[in-house]
């Protein structure tokens, strides 16, 4: 398994593709990047880049940052990332289109994700999704995947999606709103939840921090938390989470006792050659 250094195809830092054609702008000179990417956002992008040994690793967090500014990944957002990371817009687009959390059209204030993977679906996830499609759609047309009820970005607007396994199967069926968990849902509770969101209310998730909106959460994913110590609080332990631990307590079961002192570590192996 010792092979020549590196893997030229995947790890090369030099991009050897064709040179991007740069069109001369018709308008007068000005910033390529939209004014919505202000100095604060640029500074944040630079902070992200500084976290990593190599700058390109910052691309995924930077695309989250773009979504915090515009509510989706726009062409301007792609240019912003390309410019700061010295990539082509094609390279950034290739990444942005690969991942489901990057949305190509403007999203609502909230993103409602309904798990419709097998286990959640068997326990009601499919019914929940169908009801929410009808509830958030119009009389003649249910809302489709990644479509928005209300004017995107305005208070109470909701983008709906069906999601793959959200890794809370013991709490099925689950919904996430802006990636906060609402566990053990029913068709009725889910409908009440979206009705409340449409009215501009922010019900507290079963596990997670108090609801904000999608753009705030995208800023958090990029690494900028309004008050990390505060948002890291909040409920996180469902009864299901500690079922085993609680049952062990009840029955007096525990792991075999550890030695009182940390045992001596194994000796160093003899030096080879």
């Amino acid at each position: 398994m010792t092979l020549p250094e590196g893997n030229p195809e995947m790890n090369s830092r030099e991009v050897t593709g064709p040179v991007e054609v740069t069109w001369t702008p018709v308008a007068a000179d000005g910033p390529i990047v939209s004014p919505s990417y202000d100095e604060v956002t640029r500074q944040r992008a630079k902070e992200i880049i500084a976290r990593y040994p190599q700058s390109r690793s910052a691309l995924l967090p930077m695309l989250h940052l773009v979504q915090s500014v515009e509510g989706h990944v726009s062409q301007e957002g792609i240019r912003f990332c390309a410019e700061l990371l010295d990539l082509t817009t094609a390279e950034v687009s290739a990444v942005a289109t690969f991942y489901t959390m990057y949305k190509r059209t403007p999203c609502g204030e909230h993103l409602v994700s309904v798990c419709t993977n097998t286990l959640c679906a068997a326990l009601g996830g499919d019914d929940i999704y169908a009801r929410l499609q009808a509830r958030l759609g119009t009389e003649d047309r249910p809302l489709g995947h990644e479509e928005t009820a209300g004017e995107p970005g305005t208070p109470g607007s909701i983008t709906l999606e069906h999601a793959e396994c959200l890794a809370a199967c013991d709490l099925a069926p689950v919904i996430q709103v802006n990636y906060e968990y609402f566990d053990n849902q029913t068709v009725e509770s889910a409908e009440e939840l979206v009705d409340a969101l449409r009215r501009g209310e922010k019900p507290h998730p079963t596990r997670g921090a108090p609801l904000t909106d999608l753009r705030t959460v995208e800023l958090e994913l990029a690494g900028f938390h309004p008050d990390l110590a505060a948002v890291a609080e909040g409920p996180s332990i469902a009864p299901e989470t500690v079922r085993g631990a609680a049952l062990a307590d009840e029955r007096g079961w525990q792991a075999p006792a550890r030695p009182a002192e940390h045992p001596a570590l194994p000796p160093l192996p003899e030096k080879k050659s």
Binding site: L3, V242, G244, Q254, A255, H262
Partner: protein, 450 residues
């Protein structure tokens, strides 16, 4: 490792539940550094930093710890593959990358671990990084696990403030920085080389192996990629020793394991028990099948592990036991389905998942999952044909072992195992459907009978 070298002379079985990783989860603000330190947290780190890194690698080898992300590769051996020394690959920087991209359907153990006890993972990361001589560690968390990301970042902040991270950790001269990196929604990034590409800011597509990450991982440098549960186990192994760790589980699959029970069971949840526990035992702990409706099928470790049935209630759920019975231990994501669930429907749903998550890099997986979904959806919606079962097996045969990574292999597991145990259900479903030469005729048929 071939003989029972148990020198303690105790043959007693451990209790049915053995909370080790889950032991702090019920404590008040279990995620805070105060709670963690009050319960022996960061003491293993002091012991580790006083030792030679190779002693830690040997300890983890002796413990028999195997990767908890599904494949079960021996952890200590993986660490020992990292080239060390002043020349060649050993001279490059080394990296530790934590795979916290939990997304295998049914799997829900790492997210509660990171929410309830993030410091166990952070302490494990520091010890592991010291052992492999890494000074940079990235925890790649799936983006949807927002609250875990907050908890981990808070834990990292607390650990820096206490001197457990940063420069000259606890006066040892060892430096480590940890970055908590949010993914962006792609199941394939749970595959270690796709994860590395994603962490490098690319599309998350698997790399051809070899070279393996141990020599050419992140930024083409030596890299260890380990699962959350694996690394969170490390502080306890340092504190308890390998003999203690081996008092749980079996000779070749030692230690405790978080079994995640979900679906048609009375009390679903997380149950930490010694490896080798059976579904019969787990069901007893979880109050049995929901409403007493009998078990039909279940997965031992996520949807990529071939299905089991009621015949397999007594299969020991460890790496060897699950494999000997024709499946895999996977992530011990035990999804339980009762008699009300249609097998072709469940298989269709899983196949839709694999089709959606196939990264598109290799043809067998990209095209195969596409055609499998076409067949299954047509069948479940009333337009099956008698050839469908054989066609699906043929397609699976062209995916299994011919795909770039394990996603393709995993996509065939539900189908081939379902046909193995429930072939008649597929045939009955098709037989009950009107015979149509072309699917579009169905609309006419149903229209005529209305």
């Amino acid at each position: 490792m071939t003989e029972n070298t148990d020198t303690t002379g105790t043959e007693s079985r451990p209790d049915p539940l053995t909370p080790v990783l889950t032991r702090r989860w019920q404590l008040d603000r279990s995620w805070s550094i105060d709670t963690y330190e009050r319960t022996d947290g960061y003491t293993a780190l002091r012991t580790a930093l006083a030792a030679h890194p190779d002693q830690l690698i040997n300890l983890v080898k002796d413990s028999g710890l195997r990767g908890r992300g599904g494949a079960g590769f021996p952890t200590g051996m993986k660490w020992s593959f990292i080239p060390q020394g002043p020349t060649g690959a050993g001279a490059k920087p080394k990296y530790l990358v934590i795979n916290a991209d939990e997304g295998e359907p049914g799997t829900c153990k790492d997210i509660p671990t990171m929410m309830a006890d993030p410091h166990s993972l952070i302490e494990g990361c520091v010890i592991t990084s010291y052992a492999i001589r890494a000074n940079f560690c990235a925890i790649y968390v799936r983006g949807e696990a927002l609250h875990c990301i907050r908890r981990l970042r808070r834990a990292v902040e607390e650990a820096y403030a206490k001197g457990y991270l940063g420069r000259d950790i606890l006066g040892s001269g060892f430096d480590l920085d940890i970055v908590v990196h949010a993914g962006a929604g792609a199941y394939i990034c749970g595959e270690e080389t796709a994860l590395l590409d994603s962490l490098e800011g690319r599309r998350g597509q698997p790399r051809l192996k070899p070279p393996f990450p141990a020599t050419s991982g992140l930024y083409a440098s030596p890299t260890v990629v380990n699962n959350v549960e694996t690394i969170a186990s490390v502080p306890d192994i340092v504190a308890g020793g390998s003999a203690w760790f081996r008092t749980m589980g079996t000779e070749r699959s030692p230690g405790p394991k978080i079994y995640s029970l979900s679906g048609h069971v009375e009390r679903p949840g997380q149950y930490e028990a010694p490896l080798g526990t059976t579904l019969r035992e787990l069901l007893e702990l979880a109050g049995g099948m929901k409403d007493g409706i009998p078990l039909k099928f279940w997965t031992p470790g996520g949807s990529s592990t071939p299905l089991f049935t009621a015949e397999h209630l007594d299969v020991p759920l460890d790496f060897e036991g699950a494999a000997a019975a024709g499946s895999m231990l996977g992530t011990t994501a035990v999804q339980i389905f009762n008699e009300t669930v249609s097998v072709p429907w469940a298989v269709m749903k899983w196949t839709e998942f694999y089709k959606h998550e196939s990264c598109g890099k290799c043809t067998p997986c990209r095209e195969g999952t596409y055609w499998l979904v076409q067949i299954l959806e047509r069948m479940v919606h009333g337009e099956g044909t008698p050839e469908d079962v054989d066609t699906m097996l043929d397609i699976c045969d062209n995916i299994l072992g011919r795909s770039f990574c394990a996603l393709g292999d995993g996509a065939t597991s539900p189908i081939t195992s379902a046909i193995k145990y429930f072939r008649q259900e597929f045939l009955d479903l098709i037989a009950a459907q009107p015979a149509v030469a072309r699917p579009e005729q169905l609309a006419d048929l149903t229209g005529a009978s209305a």
